[in-house]
């Protein structure tokens, strides 16, 4: 199974863990990912806010680059925003000959062209669930995630809106009550908690526009998962991971809450269930430490060098936690408890 691969800007650095874990699980399942040559940003939700035609041209350049290799007719996008933008441009060009002609005139200025409908754009989750399939995945599970309670979080752009151009390219899951990630996590042995907010929005760029609005959305999502006693949230979008993970601290401060809900990618969970080394899956990159919950399934993640405290313990005359607990037990003995 060979596909074009459109990683998107986030996966280069901020969501490198998603990229690394995707590549790690691709091999055992025979997925061959051919990165689109010299791809560019999809424009996220920003480019179209200021320019209409140029935003389609920006995305279409990627579709044109992807179509250079005639053998590859499917493009995988692991990021929900990239997935939506690529699908939307393809659909709108397919349905409007005027737009198609204009976008192609623009592409021609860069020596490119694209015939709408030639690339079938798919989300990584779709490919994992439908092309690899649960059976094959189940066969390869060696370290099931037994006992881990997971809130499956889809976010918005992977399930909405319907952007198919034919029956063949219909959205792979339900826009209100998606279930594919739930099923996948169950196959991996995890306990999937009921998560009514699974297809709600993380706020996207809202943290930069009005953080209070964004914190409200993040609070709902994290509290929702905590209310159902989830150990962690598993997601499939770099923006969702970034918002829920990196802004969980500022959100806690805003509401005076103390949530500590780790947020990992579904590809990392597949890797763990396959018995892969946590570090090779990019685990440890998250700001909300996932180690305590992963210890539940016997996964040990070494503390990264960068996280080691400086100056070291010996440098300061502070009582160590061990001594403290000894002291407490001594005191308890003394007062007869």
């Amino acid at each position: 199974m060979k596909y074009n691969y459109f990683p998107g800007c986030s996966l280069e650095k901020n969501a490198a863990a998603y990229d690394v874990s995707t590549k790690a699980i691709a091999d055992p399942f025979g997925l061959e990912l051919v990165e689109i040559e010299d791809w560019n940003c999809c424009g996220a939700t920003e480019y179209i806010s200021l320019n209409l035609l140029a935003s389609y041209a920006l995305v279409a350049r990627n579709l044109a680059q992807a179509s250079k290799n005639k053998d590859l007719t499917q493009t995988i996008a692991p990021c929900s925003a990239c997935y939506l933008n690529l699908r939307k441009t393809d659909k709108y060009m397919y349905e409007s000959s005027d737009l198609n002609q204009k976008v192609n005139t623009a592409l021609a200025a860069g020596g490119l062209s694209y015939k709408p409908g030639t690339q079938k754009v798919r989300h990584l989750l779709d490919v994992v669930v439908n092309d690899i399939g649960f059976e094959k995945i189940a066969e390869k599970v060696t370290k099931p995630l037994t006992g881990l309670r997971i809130a499956p979080y889809y976010g918005c752009m992977i399930v909405r809106p319907e952007l198919s151009i034919s029956k063949d390219s219909l959205s792979f899951d339900d826009p209100e009550h998606p279930t594919t990630l739930d099923e996948l996590l169950k196959v991996l042995g995890a306990e999937v908690v009921d998560y009514p907010l699974k297809a709600n929005c993380c706020g996207g760029h809202m943290t930069q526009i009005n953080d209070v609005t964004a914190f409200e959305l993040l609070h709902r999502l994290i509290k929702g998962a905590a209310d159902y006693q989830a150990d962690l949230i598993v997601t499939l979008c770099p923006m969702c991971q970034f918002n829920l993970d990196a802004f969980q601290g500022p959100m806690n401060r805003h509401f005076g809450t103390k949530f500590s809900m780790p947020v990992l990618y579904f590809t990392q969970m597949i890797g763990l269930a396959l018995g892969m080394d946590a570090k090779k899956l990019g685990i440890g990159d998250e700001l909300i430490d996932a180690r305590p919950v992963l210890a539940k399934i016997g996964v040990q993640v070494p503390i990264p060098e960068s996280a080691k405290k400086r100056p070291d313990k010996e440098a300061l005359p502070m009582p160590s936690p061990l001594k403290n607990s000894e002291n407490i037990s001594k005191i308890k003995e003394e007062i007869g408890q």
């Binding site: 901020n14 200021l50 920006l58 918005c156």
Partner: protein, 193 residues
């Protein structure tokens, strides 16, 4: 475009409704709005909007261009597509929000510059490098707009840097000259209409 009953022609000048429909790709179905309010009820950031999408649409029908363009509504849209997906009239609400943003920027009519500037900064990186650049984007945006709130996210920023999740330099694509030519041509065609 089909005839729109709501439209009031005034001296052959396009109504605001016609303008919005024309600048939205495909068939927006805006004229089909039945004011049910499913959009506002589904909106995750609706509570913080000046007007819900339903109200915005009615104001567009009424030709209240200034209020619509000055409202924070389109800028608070998080593009989650709940409204679009749930609208019984299949109105492309999210796309319409983008249209309102574009008109507001083009006519330079908006009150709060935070969101438009964020888009501009983002686009600037994309147009000059071909890729987005998070650290550059966030630093410029913070300096311009949220300087006083920076203490709220200092720890987070440090965390991202320590974990190696922030690049210090933007990545540039090889075909940047071609990309620039493509975007310039597209903008030229957009102006030509």
């Amino acid at each position: 475009m089909t005839t729109i009953q709501y439209t009031q022609k005034n001296n052959g000048k396009k109504s605001f409704l016609e303008e919005v429909i024309e600048l939205t790709p495909g068939k927006s179905n805006l004229e089909m709005c039945i004011q049910c309010g499913t959009c506002g009820g589904s909106c995750p950031s609706g509570a913080d909007m000046d007007h819900t999408p339903r109200a915005i649409f009615q104001m567009i029908f009424a030709g209240m261009k200034d209020i619509v363009l000055k409202s924070n509504t389109p800028w608070y849209c998080v593009s989650c597509y709940y409204c679009t997906s749930r609208c019984p009239q299949e109105i492309h609400i999210t796309d319409l929000m983008y249209t309102i943003k574009r008109i507001a920027v083009k006519e330079n009519v908006y009150d709060d510059t935070t969101a438009p500037d964020f888009s501009k900064t983002f686009i600037n990186w994309v147009e000059n490098y071909g890729r987005s650049f998070e650290l550059g984007l966030m630093s410029i945006h913070i300096l311009k707009h949220t300087r006083l709130k920076v203490f709220k996210i200092t720890e987070m920023g440090m965390g991202m840097v320590t974990k190696g999740r922030m690049s210090f330099t933007p990545n540039k694509i090889k075909g940047l000259t071609d990309l620039k030519a493509i975007l310039a041509k597209a903008k030229e065609l957009e102006v030509a209409g």
